[in-house]
């Protein structure tokens, strides 16, 4: 996936974590929507993101906090490239005073995902994320990335 497209998708997903259902998002599929599933088309970038948002009971110690998950498939119609990313956020309650946390892992790849692992490895090294980071997977690379295995 071209780097500019990856940036576009990452920025979009980052904002989806704060606003999971923006006005431009349509329920997906349109004829019989799945729970929490949306399609977001970005015409300026010719990119479509399909994603799901799910709420969970607290995983954190704070029982009153909630989690929101965003799982996204991405497709660019002009480049026929796609990738999949899954991100989960623990949304702390205002009363807790804690900073929001994002739980992240990549799901499998969708069609024609082309991102090499190298980009993520650079992130891990540069930012010192302890070998755990968001990854984009190649097509057919639906196995758990080595850096995320225990």
């Amino acid at each position: 996936m071209p780097q500019p497209l990856r940036w576009t998708v990452q920025r979009t997903i980052f904002h989806l974590l704060d606003e999971p259902v923006p006005a431009l998002a349509d329920p997906f599929p349109s004829d019989d929507p799945l729970p929490g599933a949306y399609e977001l088309h970005l015409p300026a970038d010719d990119v479509t993101i399909w994603y799901t948002v799910t709420e969970h009971a607290a995983l954190a110690a704070d029982a009153s906090s909630r989690t929101a998950a965003v799982a996204a498939s991405v497709s660019r119609t002009t480049a026929a490239s796609a990738a999949c990313l899954q991100t989960r956020r623990i949304r702390s309650t205002a009363a807790s005073g804690c900073s929001p946390k994002f739980l992240c892992h990549a799901a499998g790849a969708a069609t024609d995902a082309e991102l090499p692992y190298g980009g993520v490895d650079r992130l891990r090294l540069r930012h010192g994320l302890g070998g755990r980071c968001v990854r984009w997977l190649k097509r057919g690379g639906e196995t758990v990335p080595r850096a995320m295995r225990r």
Partner: protein, 65 residues
């Protein structure tokens, strides 16, 4: 890129644009199918998924707000 004259065809621009639009529509339709399969098969991130603060994720992705 070069092509032999015998490999070239001429079509009206309107037809070219229509074909491009149809290609986009078909690719998006394929994307919908892939997304549907993925949504239905996805079990969600495990509880041991790595955690980032908002700032860490923004830094990891190179996002400046």
């Amino acid at each position: 890129m070069s092509a032999e004259a015998s490999d070239l065809v001429s079509i009206p621009r309107a037809e070219l644009e229509a074909l491009k639009a149809e290609l986009k529509r078909l690719r998006r339709e394929v994307g919908r199918g892939v997304a549907m399969a993925r949504i239905q098969a996805d079990s969600g991130p495990g509880d041991d998924a790595p955690a980032f603060t908002r700032e860490e994720l923004a830094e990891a992705w190179g996002i400046r707000e």
